[in-house]
Amino acid sequence: MLKQIEGSRGVAEAVALSRPEVICAYPISPQTHIVEALSTLVKSGELAPCEFVNVESEFAAMSVAIGASAAGARAYTATASQGLLYMAEPLYNASGLGLPIVMTVANRAIGAPINIWNDHSDSMSQRDSGWIQLYAETNQEALDLHIQAFRIAEELSLPVMVCMDGFVLTHAVERVDVPEQGQVDAFLPPYEPRQVLDPEDPISIGAMVGPDAFTEVRYLAHDKQMQALDLIPAVAADFRAAFGRDSGGLVRPYRCEDAETVVVALGSVLGTIKDTVDELRDEGMSIGVLGLTSFRPFPLDAVRTALGGAQRVVVLERALAVGIGGIVAANVRMALSGISLHGYTVIAGLGGRAITKASLRRLFHEAAADKLEPLTFLDLDRDLVERELQRTRTTRRSGPAAENLLRDLGTRVG
């Protein structure tokens, strides 16, 4: 059914259609609207049977989900930013135990300085937590990915994180197609756990494993993600067959065939990039886009196939690996090992900084001319940082950089 609703609402409805049995959450912007909607659905009895647990922290949220999942329930939670970090420990635990929890990450920057706006620093920081990470480009895809996520998670016994850009997607009101319950039920069978806490058949879950088997356990976790490389496209294909639209999969190439320059990115920024690429194509530039839907597992082969013919690759990412630069870029490079081409890392849109078509146009032109720095910070206010650097060089007690910059900006603007 077509609905004109907020992205969060769409996700909440998709989650509800997936019949979770336990939902637990702790509020953090920009995730709040999702769990608010779900709590209402549970409280009103529309979503039943389902327990909504108002926990006291994200650490507890993930822990409740672990318990629920181990007891055989379909479990869901959502978080963002600080909250994701606060649940880092149980995050690893959930994947280590092979519990198919589904979680929405409404992507948001990590402080300090505290910032509620969108970037990918949060989910990128947990890229090696053992979770599958899928990134939504649109609200429709966010909605669809959740339904797929439960199926992927439960088939593999691995937790899945559906990442959607905070505010940009979560708070955007758009028209989405919300499936019917019957369709979802047909697509997503009831959860059949691989292991369950059952008094009739007791097992011990969560043993301590020493050097004798730890590597093997880890290898098996990796192997599961490798299996996901096949499963994710298969589920996306099933989804297309059932619901009649393309959502999910590993990668989404756009006008890449024969492109000399390929831009790689994840999430909602792909829309702006595609628009820009369309314009540049019209202007004659040989440029394409590769959208990554699955970041974990990282689709090395698919990326290599998509980029192998290009002359240059521009990885545009909304997170910064402080001290080296790109996170996605490093992974892309891994896919291109042995292939010689120009590679550029562009850090863009941190903490909610808008990524405009104008900036992208400029950026892609520089790239096409190979005039780009290997590591570029899109729209960085050079003057501003130079002044601060100057201050720190001259004064020991130069004060907090963030506040200095703001003050500096104020004087300039005001």
Binding site: L97, S157, R194, I203, G206, A213, L220
Partner: protein
């Protein structure tokens, strides 16, 4: 790596099947290993009759009174008698005395003895007839005990006694207010019912002939001759001896004691005769003793009861002269060794009679013709097996060197019977070595419920001084049960399941029926079971490699 789990698809290593820890045999950690041992309870150790007290209390704890009684009867045919007159060395030894008060073993024993009489419980001879015939001389507790045990062992037994009735001092010495005669009669009758032949009013004089006629002879003639003292006395002084007085009373004669009676001596016999005198109408019965109360050989309870009944005590006094109606006493004092020495201070007391209670000697005329029988200090010498120097002639009770109590006499009777039996079969009686003593330190007394001892009811005083009714009452079924359950079961498992429970490694197997076993596969040797065993039954021993 382990074989595939029964669940097949369980995640590798992180998820495990129950029961798998049994593969880890933690027994290999052990340096010490617990072992169930039996220790000798101090009561059993102290009982001269060799009763397995802890064991019969164990039965009584479960209201198994008949089983309890039978357990006593295995060693002692006189529970009802002993439950009244025994001096209770068991209770003196009882570990519970350290905790609060000793278990009232004796009162439970009496309850069981009385219950047996009431219920008519009997014993039977199960052993095949041996064809041997044993003569027992003397129907006191020692002779009767021997007769009983010999009969149970399958021998023919004849008991001869000079007196008209059997019982020895149980009948002719110990006053009826302490030991009612129907009780004595009932327990002797039970022995007679086993087929023991009694020949009463028969004094054995010619032992040689009897030794020829019988396959073996047990002598238990007791000590009945009152020891005299050289007291200067006027012609009309009335000086009697305690055992004769008591025997006379038993035979229905009224000994001429007068209204004021002085009893000389500080033993139990002195108390018995003084209390008897009160019951016979003496207005003043005074015990003259040369030392102090705490040095009196009489048991404290006897002294207390005598005092309650109006008997007066003259401690630190000796009688130096007796005459009609009066005696002279000299005050004594104790020297540094506790020995009484005269002070030269004299005093006169009014006394119509003086009863000497200075101990008894045995009349050993019947052995005088036997050269191979040794008499030293007025008693017959016997070996470890209670045999005299004459083959086949055994002796026990008051006539051999020993503590002179009925309980010891009964113990001698049992021991003699076993040795006679062995001798008749041409073997020697072999007993397993005694277990180590279950001392208080070996117990964990925390576990015993707090429980003060049950006090036996006593006759009111008015009736005590005017009649020979029994002074001390018995327990009823519920108080007897309570008292039995005060037993701490020292050195013997009481099936508390503590060991089974406190083992952190579930390394104790409860087999049921009071049996437990250590699972050596898993016992780490922590020692908790041993530490928390209330009755001290578990011992930690070094692990042998």
């Amino acid at each position: 790596m382990p074989e595939a789990s029964k669940h097949g698809t369980l995640p590798f290593a992180i998820t495990l099947d129950p029961g798998s820890s049994l593969a880890n045999k933690t027994g290999s950690w052990r340096t010490e290993v617990p072992a169930y041992v039996d220790r000798l309870p101090p009561c059993n150790d102290a009982c001269p009759a060799g009763e397995n007290i802890q064991q019969w209390l164990h039965h009584a704890e479960e209201s198994g009174y008949e089983a309890a009684w039978r357990q006593i009867m295995a060693d002692n045919p006189f529970p009802a008698v002993m439950g009244r007159i025994c001096y209770r060395p068991c209770e003196t030894a009882c570990n519970r005395a350290i905790l609060d008060e000793p278990v009232g073993i004796n009162s439970v024993e009496r309850f069981l003895g009385d219950e047996a009489i009431k219920q008519g419980w009997a014993v039977s001879v199960d052993a095949p007839a041996s064809g041997k015939h044993v003569l027992v001389v003397g129907a006191g507790p020692s002779g009767l005990s021997a007769a009983y045990h010999l009969r149970l062992l399958g021998h023919e037994v004849t008991v001869r006694d000079s007196c008209p009735e059997a019982g020895g001092m149980m009948r002719y010495g110990i006053p009826a207010y302490r030991l009612p005669r129907d009780v004595v009669d009932a327990e002797i009758q039970r022995i007679a019912d086993l087929g023991v032949r009694f020949e009463l009013n028969t004094t054995v004089a010619d032992l040689r002939a009897e030794l020829d006629a019988f396959d073996a002879v047990f002598l238990a003639v007791g000590a009945h001759v009152g020891r005299r003292a050289d007291i200067p006395a006027g012609d009309s002084a009335r000086i009697l001896d305690a055992v004769s007085v008591l025997a006379q009373v038993e035979q229905g004669d009224q000994p001429l004691l007068g209204r004021r009676v002085a009893v000389y001596g500080g033993g139990n016999t002195a108390m018995d005769v003084a209390r008897t005198a009160r019951r016979l109408g003496a207005t003043d019965a005074v015990v003259v003793y040369r030392r102090t109360r705490d040095r009196m050989p009489a048991h404290d309870i006897e002294v207390t009861e005598a005092l309650e009944e109006g008997v007066r005590m003259r401690w630190l006094s000796t009688i130096t002269y007796a005459d009609a109606g009066r005696i002279t006493i000299e005050k004594m004092k104790l020297d540094e060794t506790g020995f009484p020495v005269p002070t030269g201070e004299f005093e006169d007391l009014e006394a119509d009679s003086v009863v000497l209670a200075l101990g008894q000697l045995s009349d050993l005329a019947l052995v005088e013709g036997l050269d191979d029988v040794t008499i030293t200090d007025h008693v017959v010498q016997v070996g470890a097996h209670l045999m005299t120097g004459h083959p086949g002639l055994f002796a026990g009770g008051d006539m051999v060197p020993s503590e002179r109590t009925a309980t010891v006499a009964i113990g001698h009777g049992k021991k003699a019977a076993r040795n006679i039996d062995a001798w008749l079969r041409g073997t020697t009686d072999q007993r397993p070595p005694r277990h180590d003593l279950a001392t208080y330190e070996r117990l964990n007394t925390w576990y015993y419920s707090d429980a003060p001892a049950t006090v036996r009811p006593r006759l009111d005083l008015a009736r005590r001084v005017s009649t020979f009714d029994e002074v001390v009452g018995g327990l009823d079924a519920s108080t007897a049960l309570f008292e039995a359950r005060r037993c701490m079961s020292c050195g013997n498992c009481l099936e508390c399941d503590n060991c089974f429970s406190v083992c952190p490694d579930n390394a104790i197997i409860k087999l049921g029926g009071g049996k437990y076993e250590i699972d050596l596969d898993f016992c780490k040797g922590c020692g908790l079971c041993a530490a928390e065993c209330p009755s001290g039954v578990i011992e930690m021993c070094p692990e042998r490699l």
